[in-house]
Amino acid sequence: MVILSEKVRQEVEHTLNDLQEDLKLIVFTQESECPTCEDNRLLMEELASLSRKIRLEVVDFAKDKDKAEQYKVDKVPATVVEGKEDYGIRFYGIPGGYEFLSLIHAMKMVSSKSSTLSPETKEQLKRLVKPVHIQVFVTLMCPYCPEVVHLAHEMALESPLITSDMVEAAEFPHLNQKYNVFVVPKVVINETIEFVGAVTEEEFLKHVMKSERK
């Protein structure tokens, strides 16, 4: 079964020609009680088939607890986009719709190991001393969401202390309830800081740096 249309497949293949270094998609999945796990796995398998630079590892979330613990994956479907090392870039839920842009962006970024963040932002991120966990709640047809996911993932690439999750809100209603998600994009940092809407790199950075003081 294929997920992507022939036209999209061709375009993705063309886009992935730009990949520089090898990357790995680690897909956490399970057979039961996860309605989107199969589609997510199929999507990642299809992507991996479109470039020699992409390797795929499928992990059974229910059985391989060690792997889930290693990557600190606590729900499925989950996809880790890993380059030479694990930069802390995660997708929870199927990255379709506008979030497909975020997935392609993450793959290219990890493969080139370079972000578009300003030199000032990169400098500031070096000053972090404690771990920062960023969760970006999105829905798939939200056009404002990918730019926030891009920022969060770019910060994860730049700082070994940052882990950044895209969370597809419709697939995790219990998290919507927990974090009061009634609008997207909504960002939650270290369980203590939250904000909504698309913000500038400068503003996002301020929230990240503030999380250290909380």
């Binding site: 589609d39 379709g96 719709g97 506008y98 056009p143 404002y144 419709a170 998600v181 609008v183």
Partner: protein, 320 residues
């Protein structure tokens, strides 16, 4: 499931030191069409916009753009962007103009990232943004049940009761979006439903939608999240309280003109006044799309106006 791809980049350098023939503010249907027409006339053009697509990105389906029987707003805008990127047009996306001024026949555009650009002519195609209800607790409850983007937020209201405020196509589109998720959708209409009959019929057939005509929202209630709205009969005393978790405000939009307010003539609704050649009250400054007084706010109208504005700018530059 839809998968949206990035348009292929043909990067054209963006130069602050340059004197552009034309600066286009906004990259919705009007701005992008203007860009293509400008490029065909070989005008050195810079487009500045927060995003590519503007409000069209929020349209779940478009059935009124000729050449496509049905296309999503996102896909249509991607096709626009691809067409723009065929030409050597500098695109500054992710930034926005905060101040536009004119001195010695030259325009200066300052942006939110503190960049400064100079142009011999300008097209404002900055579109509109959602208008608020301006009722108590609305502002405080934004992101806590008050939403201005049904396309984005509808999936978060699965199984809940919600209200949509408005009578036009955007309100009916929001209702249709919510039908897949919400349990009940109250639709609060001031006078009568003005949107397309096709959308209304679909809503009525769903069995989930209750139209309440002749009412206005007077208050949104809720401590941490939306719990209730109060609606009052227009011209009467009847008042109703509706227990809802979501309020989707779709009462029209307000033009994005703050950056040019002191420069150019606006009407009482803050729309840019233009003539039939898209000329504004300032020589060399043109405008197109939903930001202007042109009455019908439609993608196809905006695109046509964008073409006109670019051709007018071209003639202006020839004569200047």
């Amino acid at each position: 499931m839809e998968f949206i791809l990035p348009a292929e980049l043909k990067a054209v350098p963006i130069e602050e030191a340059k004197r552009y023939d034309l600066i286009i503010i906004g990259a919705g249907p009007a701005g992008m069409t203007a860009a293509v027409y400008a490029a065909r006339k070989k005008l050195d053009t810079l487009v500045i916009s927060k995003n590519v697509g503007g409000q069209t990105l929020l349209a779940p389906g478009v059935e009124t753009y000729m050449g496509y029987q049905y296309i999503t707003g996102a896909e249509l805008m991607r096709k626009f962007e691809e067409q723009v990127r065929q030409f050597p047009i500098a695109l500054l996306i992710g930034d926005e103009v905060t101040k536009l001024s004119r001195e010695d026949n030259l325009f200066t555009a300052l942006t939110s990232t503190r960049k400064k650009f100079t142009g011999k002519s300008v097209i404002i195609a900055s579109g509109r943004r959602a208008r608020p209800l301006n009722v108590p607790r609305e502002k405080e409850l934004i992101g806590r049940g008050v939403s201005y983007c049904a396309t984005c937020d509808a999936p978060l209201f699965n199984g809940m009761d919600v209200a949509v405020i408005g009578s036009g196509n955007s309100a009916l589109t929001a209702v249709n979006e919510l039908m897949s998720y919400a349990r009940k959708i109250y639709t609060i209409v001031r006078a009568s439903v003005k949107g397309d009959a096709v959308l209304r019929e679909k809503a009525e057939k769903s069995g989930k939608v209750e139209f309440l005509s002749g009412y206005a929202v007077t208050e949104i209630q809720g401590k941490d999240n939306v719990e209730r709205i109060i609606i009052k009969q227009i011209g009467g005393n009847k008042e109703l309280g509706l227990d809802v978790r979501g309020v989707f405000v779709e009462i029209g939009a307000t033009p994005n003109v703050a950056f040019a307010k002191e420069l150019v003539e606006l009407n009482e609704s803050n729309e840019l006044v233009v003539d039939c050649d898209c000329k504004t009250s300032v020589a060399g400054l043109f405008a197109a799309g939903d930001v202007t007084i042109v009455p019908e706010k439609q993608i196809i109208v905006a695109a046509g106006e964008g073409a006109k504005a670019a051709l007018s700018a071209y003639h202006y530059l020839l004569e200047a």
